[in-house]
Symmetry: C2
Subunit: 343 residues, 2 copies
C-alpha cells in the first residue's frame, strides 16, 4: 500500500509517499477481500491529499499524513465505480464468491477488504481496463456532461480541454457524434492523437501556441460550449470567447488542484449580456443513469464508433509518479496502474 | 425630450442631461404618432449612455452626446414592452387609430413617432401603470427568472436583491407562492415594506447590517437560490453562501452599471464542488411566453395575492434624477415618470 509520508506542497512528489507492506486483514461479516489488478489514477485524487500547513484543506481533502492514499469516496458509496478492478479472494457477503471480477476499493493498495455492498460486478465478458475508462467512471462523467449539461446541438462549436485525457477523449467524440464541430485543447502528441485518431475537427497544442491565440484562429466566431477539465487560464480564454447562449460545463479543474482555492473567477457581466449558463456537476449524484450510459457508449464502442486509449503504468510504486504526470498533462490517455498478480 | 449633454462619469448627474423642445414630426407611411403618459425608468437605461472617455462603451452603450436618451432597444423590436404607455394621436398604420392606448417608444420624450409594428396594445381595461410594472416588462422578467431559470422548489431558501424594486417585488412573491422561504435584500424603508406588506419571510436592511453578517444570521444553512438584481459585493456574499445544487440567477446587475466592466467574478471551484448553476437571461429572447405570464400574474393580481407599488416622479425634467435615485436604491417601488397630458 502507499501511505502519505508528508503533505505535498503543490505538485505531489515521490518523496511525499512511501510504499509499505502490511498483513492482509481477514474480511469480517458482510465484507469481501479482493485483489486489485488495475488501479485508476484520477486528477481528483489530488484533492484528497492533506494541506501542507495542516488545518482545513483548501480543496476539501480529508486524508492525513500516515494515511493510505485515498483513491475516491470511501465505501459504501452506492454505485460508485472507479478505483480498482480485480478478483474476489474471499467473501463473507452473500452476493460475492471467490473468483468474481469486481470493481471497488478506495485506497492505494493491492488488497482490499471492503463492505460487499460497496462492490460493483464487472459484466460478463467485460474488459477490465474499460471498466476503469471508457465504460467506467471517466466515460460516464463525459457522457453525463455532454448529454445532460452541455445539451449539444448540431452545428455548434464545442471546445474541450484535456482533450486527450480520460474524460476529454469521450466528451469530444460524443459531441462530434451529436453534430458539433469539436476543437480540443491538449499538448504535444495528444493534440495530434485526438485529431488524427479520434476525429476531432481541430486541436490547440498548448506547447506550440498560446491557447487564446489558437482559439481566435480556430474559433473565429466564438465557442458555443466549453467543456472544462482544467480550469485556470485555459478556462478563462474559453469563457471570454463564449457566444450568446453559450454553456460552460464545469466538469473538472485539474490544472488548479495543486493550488489553493482561487479567490475569483471570470466576470459575471457577460453571463448576463450573453445569456450564458455555467454549471458544475459531480457524477456521484447521477448513478441511476449509469445503465443508460453503459448501454449507449458500449454500443458505440462495439461498433467501432468510439476510440480510447490507456496509459498503463507498471506497478503500485509508480502510482505517485503517475499522478504527478497526469496533473502535469504528461499522460497519453487514461492513466491506470497495473498492479500485476500475486506470485 | 431629454438629450445627453455630456457622458456621465459614474452615477448620472442632472447636468449630464438637458431638456429641449423640438417640433413634433408627422408620422410617415406605416408610422404612428403617440403621446406618452408614463415613462418607465429602468437600471438598464444606464447601459445605453455613452462612456466618458469616448471610444467603445464598457457596458455596450451605443448613444452619443447630443442624442436623445435611449429608454430601451430601438423599434422595431418584436413584442418589446416597456418604455412608455400613452395614446395614439395620429396613425398611418392600419392597426392603429387615434385614441388607442399603446405601449412602445424608445427615447426619453413625450411625443413618439415609431413604426406601427413596434407598438403593443394596452389590453381593454388595462391599468396604464401596471403595463409598465407588475404586468409589464419588470413583472415578466421576474416571472421568467423564477419559473424558468431558478426552478424554485418548495422548502428552498430564495434570496433576492433589490427586493423592493420593480423586479424583486414580484420575484420574491412568486418564489414564496412556490413554497420557498424568501429573504430579501433591500435598504431602509423597502426592507420593512417587503416583509410587512409583501409577506417576505425576512429582509436584510443594507443600511443597518453588513449583508454577509445578516445572511449568516437569516440563512444559517445557506441559500438555495440567489436571484441577482445588483451584482457586486452583495452578489458575492450570496454566491459564497450557496448550498449544494444552488442556482444563481443573473437577472440584473444594477449596482455595477455605473462601473466599467469587472475583470473577475466569483471563483468557479465551488461551482464544481457544490454543483452550482449560474445562468443569465435577457427577457427579449422570451416574448413568446408573454401571454402565459400575463395570464398567470394577472390572475394573482386580480385575486389580491400579489402586491406592487410605484414610485411616480412628476415630469420629464425629473427623469435624470429618477434614474440616479434608482441606481442608488433610493426608489420606493417601480420608478415611473408621469408625463402628464397636453394642455
Amino acid at each position: 500500500m502507499v501511505r502519505i509520508r508528508r503533505a505535498p506542497d503543490g505538485l505531489p512528489a515521490p518523496d511525499d509517499f512511501e510504499l509499505v507492506t502490511e498483513p492482509i486483514p481477514e474480511p469480517g461479516d458482510g465484507e469481501v477481500l479482493f485483489r486489485a489488478r488495475y488501479m485508476s489514477v484520477d486528477p481528483a485524487m489530488r484533492r484528497y491529499l492533506p494541506a501542507p500547513a495542516g488545518g482545513p484543506h483548501p480543496l476539501g481533502g480529508t486524508a492525513a499524513v500516515g494515511d493510505v492514499v485515498i483513491a475516491g469516496p470511501p465505501p459504501p458509496t452506492s454505485g460508485y465505480t472507479g478505483g480498482f478492478v480485480g478478483e474476489v479472494l474471499a467473501s463473507r457477503h452473500p452476493a460475492w464468491r471467490a473468483g468474481d471480477l469486481v470493481q471497488g476499493g478506495s485506497r492505494w493498495q493491492t488488497h482490499h477488504v471492503v463492505p460487499g455492498d460497496s462492490l460493483v460486478a464487472v459484466p460478463e465478458g467485460g474488459e477490465l481496463l474499460h471498466e476503469l475508462g471508457v465504460l467506467g467512471q471517466p466515460g460516464f462523467v463525459a457522457w453525463w456532461g455532454v448529454r445532460h449539461v452541455a445539451a449539444v446541438k448540431s452545428g455548434e462549436t464545442f471546445v474541450v480541454s484535456a482533450a486527450g485525457g480520460a474524460i476529454g477523449m469521450v466528451a469530444g467524440q460524443l459531441a462530434r457524434a451529436a453534430g458539433a464541430r469539436v476543437v480540443g485543447i491538449a499538448s504535444g502528441e495528444k493534440a495530434r492523437y485526438v485529431t488524427e485518431v479520434l476525429g476531432f475537427d481541430a486541436c490547440v497544442d498548448r506547447h506550440v501556441e498560446p491557447v487564446a491565440d489558437a482559439l481566435d484562429r480556430l474559433c473565429p466566431d466564438g465557442i458555443d460550449i466549453y467543456f472544462d477539465n482544467v480550469g485556470a487560464d485555459t478556462a478563462r480564454a474559453c469563457f471570454d470567447r463564449l457566444r450568446d447562449f453559450g454553456r460552460y460545463v464545469v466538469c473538472g479543474m485539474a490544472g488548479e488542484y495543486n493550488a489553493r482555492e482561487a479567490e475569483t473567477g471570470p466576470p459575471l457581466r457577460p453571463v448576463l449580456r450573453k445569456r450564458l449558463r455555467v454549471e458544475g456537476y459531480v457524477i456521484y449524484d447521477h448513478y441511476d443513469e449509469f445503465p443508460a450510459f453503459r448501454s449507449e457508449v458500449g454500443a458505440l464502442l462495439a461498433a467501432g464508433d468510439l476510440r480510447y486509449r490507456y496509459d498503463v503504468r507498471p506497478d503500485l510504486a509508480s502510482a505517485p509518479d503517475a499522478l504527478a504526470r497526469l496533473l502535469q498533462g504528461r499522460n497519453e490517455g487514461k492513466v491506470v496502474v497495473d498492479l500485476g498478480a500475486d506470485a
